[in-house]
Symmetry: C2
Subunit: 170 residues, 2 copies
């Protein structure tokens, strides 16, 4: 169950984010400004800028899949050294490619797997608790904050850019 | 399955939002400003202001539970006529109380239930598609945007205010 509510939606939403960055690029060109200005923008002085929001969204998805499947030690390490819009898009692409290596069978037993990280000081959550109360709300938090930073700067984005296409049936 | 990934987390996150509004109230008092200034704030001229973000977050949670259980016709109607911070908190409280009326058994068969709404012009999603690709990302979108509007105005909020407490075990 945890595969279905994480990996496919992570991939979809990261594609949507990538498309938002294409709109940010077009906006920068029209305004004759450096797109890295947008990547350095934030909504409050003590908030992470757009680039960091993207990096955390990527890491949240990557580490959620890795942790739930017991593969954290093998997860690719990303150095957070991206500078340009092209770098940001490449990072998103690498995480999408990594997520595509997982299948539902990798997630067998994930619900009850003990999930921890260094900052939790030895404490843990179950895989279900971690997914529902930590990974998913965090993933959407950083995606929405990225979107909000772009909107605040005037990039023309709408809810459809965030949600992406729906698999409607007639 | 759809109950577990929606209702308990909706309730938790709406409680977190309510606590963020308490911090907004304290901030307004310290700054000697009207808290309704915050409720009318937005991050872009063509974005919904904070009050509308709260209302949509509430409706997204309410209607998700109602639609997945075939109870949309009986769902309470909220008029979106809130003006004050107390009104906003009362709205959140009403939706939390409504969500608490549901149990997992109400969600039997929800995965394959046909979900539609007027703006979809006769098209539909399955209950699973609607939950994962529409309701959850929308819910977190409006919660995070509400948080971002408060952060942008200087209210001291951190990620823990958004996520709420974790059920850590030692």
């Amino acid at each position: 169950m945890l595969y279905e509510i994480t990996v496919p939606q992570f991939i979809k939403m990261l594609h949507n984010l990538d498309a938002c960055l294409d709109k940010a690029k077009a906006f920068s060109e029209a305004k004759k400004c450096d797109p890295e200005v947008l990547l350095g923008s934030r909504l409050a002085p003590d908030q992470f800028a757009l680039m960091r929001q993207l990096q955390i969204a990527c890491d949240t998805a990557k580490l959620c899949a890795a942790r739930l499947t017991g593969k954290e030690a093998q997860a690719p390490v990303h150095e957070d050294n991206e500078k340009t819009l092209a770098d940001a898009k490449a990072r998103i692409g690498k995480v999408i490619a990594y997520l595509k290596t997982f299948s539902a069978t990798d997630f067998a037993g994930a619900e009850s797997r003990r999930i921890s990280q260094a900052r939790w000081e030895g404490k843990h959550l179950s895989g279900s608790e971690y997914t529902l109360q930590h990974a998913l709300p965090n993933f959407y938090f950083h995606l929405t904050t990225a979107y909000a930073i772009l909107r605040h700067n005037g990039v023309e984005l709408g809810k459809k850019d965030y949600l992406g296409p729906m698999p409607f049936q007639s």
